[in-house]
Amino acid sequence: MYRYDQFDAEFVAGRVAQFTDQVERRISGELSEDQFRPLRLMNGLYLQLHAYMLRVAVPYGTMNSTQLRKLAHIARTYDRGYGHFTTRQNIQFNWPRLDDVPQILSELASVEMHAIQTSGNCIRNVTTDQFAGAAADEIIDPRPVAEIIRQWSSLHPEFSFLPRKFKIAITGAPNDRAAIKFHDIGLMAQQDEQGKVGWAVYVGGGMGRTPMVAKEISPFVPHSDLLAYLESILRVYNRYGRRDNKYKARIKILVHEEGLATLREQVESEFLQVRGGVLNLPDDELSRIKAYFAPPAFKDSDARFDLAALKVSDPEFARFVLHNTNQHAQAGYTSITISLKPVGGVPGDATDAQMEVVADLAQRFSFDELRVSHEQNLVLPHVAIDDVRAVYEALNGAGLGEANVGQITDMIVCPGLDYCALANARSIPVAQEISRRFGSARRQEEIGDLKIKISGCINACGHHHAGHIGILGVEKRGTELYQITVGGNAGENAAIGNILGRGIVAEEVPDAIEQLVEIYLKARSGAEENFLGTLKRVGEAPFREALYGND
């Protein structure tokens, strides 16, 4: 993975010193909360319902064990013993004290981490496929390019006060595991006729109150021009994006109001000026960065799982292998997803002790590498198939052995009204109820892959728009109500779910989900047809009817 050089270290140290000074000015009263706000936001420090919240960047979701141990240490020392992994592949600490934050940032800097640009109207952490550099279906490892984008976008002098936040996701595989079409810019690796790799650029995706699937603005941008192309999009957005209404300020609205053709024309005309200049990315520089992401020293191995045999001899482990491993490009290896969705637990949370266990496993079994997935799980990307059993046992010992990845209890859930100042309704308790309802292994096996995503307000941090079943918390006359959507998809065939009907109270949500699942189970053509397949075939009507009758 990428390692800081003297330059990065200096850069982050400078930022820590700067923020330390700003915190001191705030505590001394020299800065008012109003003046402090934009400054703390630039360093990922939010003011939540009960306390400050610090969001730490995990660039493109990649970490090593030293870094995760530091996060565990911070959780233990400065917080309440846990952290929350987010859909942006970052981690949030929910209870830091303001006067501890400079110290936390300086501890982070000591392991090459920071909180820069994890909030504010700037270019946020670049996210990618959690299996980048490991997945069998990958055309190219997207991390070197993600790292270059990180460098280009860090404290960008022109793009630090955009109309609104700006999120870029990149994937090197045709199977989109990074939800790129729900980002302001999505990049998907493409190969042209000569086999040259470049990027299809999608623009204007997003969730929130106006969900949009990103549209293709360019089918192929070569590596060498990528930064120039991104700068062109950002400049057009910075100049013409709406600033009169924060709810209409994302680039998706610009795309929607101006039309893709107009935006493309503006971007292309800017691109003509910018391309070939200082942002041109020569091959040797890409190679230099690529060297940081060279594959680890894999051992030759032809080990493979015999699932059929395992199902008989060790059904629980077989289930773990089936759901929690992903096919690796290297024979004899696999990627393990560590579920942070224990039945009845808080999705995405990990205790300091659990982080220590995972760090340990990464060091021993995964070439010291770790990933955070946008679905709020952790990943050991490079585990020898012969070691999976040992990893599984260690995980079980730490309460991390849940074999539910991709299943109905592996939900994306925002913090909701339990933490968040913006939320209208609680999300976590609703998720916990659903998780308990569908917790049995047999039930989950029967249902198969089904993605539920829950947001506590229209800002859609829980990606409910992209859930096969989405749940949105709203507030009506003092009551927390939940709207149910169906048909969302975060993958390469991205789609936004449709609302089935009026909101229902929290207590009714598990029953409603149960009813939807029952309809699906009854209507599906076979176990291989997933929820979206059935929905497409039979339409929404039976599902709507199940919830609301014929009215």
Binding site: D5, Q151, P157, V278, A291
Partner: protein, 436 residues
């Protein structure tokens, strides 16, 4: 050469809108409208715009006088030059008045003589300088000059900061207690600048200069100076007196220091007076000067603004497209980029387009909600001056730009990109590109 004795001062006070507007800027605005050593610029503006037809030069025809007089001769050789004929000058000085005036073609040198009745009354033996030099100066210099200045709105002096401690706070323009504007084009010049100018233009020296007289007034009160001595230390040597009095204001001090808080423009590492005024809607294009004209207004009346000869600035609003004035940038002495709110970042793009794409090299100032923490970013986008009203920001800037991060990850601004390097090859002084 025509030499005229004191004649009637110019009676007609010609006023016009342009002059009034210029004066309305006030002294603070007038100062720092010019680079410190732009003596000719100061002089030209004073002669042609600020005090047209009501300006005089007061010259001692002393050791350095040739410099200012040479500049005057190039702009307007008919400008009134007032010389205080005190009656106690060195004969060499009187000869120099003639030779220099002839050489420079000065056509309007006026000799101001003291009132003969007063001389008879107060200094019959011509030794008042011994017993009461202040009274002597009063009769021979102050009273005659006061009389002569009656018809002038302002006057030019050749004083320089380096000459004495008291003159160390001198600025280009002062407002005197009798409501005249005093112009000091050479305020910031050093001895070396004077010497260089004399050499470049091959100006004749005062005959006594070679004998060690660095500042020359009346003979009885002037002595030579030795190397290393302050040039004016030869005047009234041994007496607690450094000024004859013509430059005193009501409080017997010269050039009161400006109030720091009135300086709002941060440029080149310090707060300076802002020479630019506010554009007022409805101002006829031909009358606009030293104001930042809004881009939209400029575009609408482009021909008129281009035809005007006055110094002009441009105001780029947050939503304005700078590409609309791409071919007119040479017209502007200053461009102001507006940041209407801390969170409105459009100005950063405008600044980069101006500085990088369009190659604008002049003053590029940020106006509006300019806070300390934005300044490093603005600088990197090409902004080189900041109009600051926020008190905490002002304090921070006075302490040194806060939160400055000297290393950066991407190129922005023309001079940040060393030859042969690229965007993402992060670089800063003393850092090398590393490999894993």
């Amino acid at each position: 050469m025509e030499m005229i004795e004191q004649s009637d001062p110019i009676s007609a006070h010609q006023t016009n809108a342009g002059k009034d507007r210029l004066r309305a800027f006030g002294i603070i605005t007038l100062n720092s409208m010019f680079a410190q050593k732009d003596a000719s610029g100061v002089l030209r503006m004073a002669i042609e715009d600020l005090l047209a037809d009501e300006l005089a030069v007061v010259s001692s025809f002393g050791a350095d006088s040739a410099v200012l007089l040479h500049m005057v001769s190039k702009i307007d050789p008919n400008l009134p030059i007032l010389f205080l004929q005190t009656g106690r000058h060195f004969p060499q000085t009187l000869a120099y008045v003639k030779t220099l005036s002839k050489r420079l073609g000065l056509a309007n040198v006026r000799l101001l003589a003291p009132d003969s009745d007063e001389l008879v009354r107060f200094d019959p033996d011509e030794d008042l300088w011994k017993s009461d030099p202040n009274a002597c100066c009063h009769i021979r210099k102050i009273v005659p000059l006061d009389k002569a200045l009656g018809g002038f709105g302002g006057w030019v002096s050749g004083r320089k900061r380096y000459q004495t401690e008291e003159r160390g706070a001198l600025s280009h323009f002062e407002l005197t207690s009798d409501n005249r504007i005093k112009v000091n084009p050479l305020a910031y010049w050093e001895g070396a600048d004077i010497a260089a100018y004399k050499k470049t233009h091959d100006l004749p020296e005062h005959p006594l200069f070679a004998e060690g007289f660095a500042s020359i007034g009346c003979a009885p009160c002037t002595s030579a100076v030795t190397n290393g001595e302050n040039p004016r230390s030869g005047r009234w040597r041994g007496l607690n007196k450094a000024e004859c009095g013509i430059h005193f204001d009501v409080n017997r001090r010269i050039s009161p220091a400006m109030n720091k808080a009135e300086l709002t423009l941060f440029r080149d590492g310090e707060f300076v007076a802002d020479p630019w005024g506010k554009w007022v809607e409805g101002t006829a294009p031909v009358l606009a000067r030293y104001v930042h004209v809004p881009l939209v207004e400029f575009v609408v009346n482009r021909a008129a603004y281009l035809a005007s000869l006055h110094p002009l600035g441009l105001l780029v609003g947050a939503g304005d497209d700078v590409m609309e004035v791409a071919s007119d940038l040479g017209r502007f002495s200053s461009i102001a980029v507006e940041f209407p709110a801390f969170t409105d970042g459009r100005g950063y793009s405008s600044a980069r387009l101006l500085a990088e794409r369009l190659g604008y090299k002049g003053e590029l100032r940020a106006v509006g909600d300019v806070l300390a923490d934005q300044i490093p970013l603005m600088r990197r986008c090409g902004v080189n001056a900041f109009v600051v009203s926020h008190a905490a920001t002002r304090k921070a800037l006075e302490k040194g730009v806060p939160g400055r991060i000297d290393v950066f990850m991407q190129p922005a601004g023309g001079d940040e990109i060393p030859v042969g390097t690229r965007a993402f090859v992060r670089r800063a002084p003393n850092f090398t590109v590393s490999t894993p």
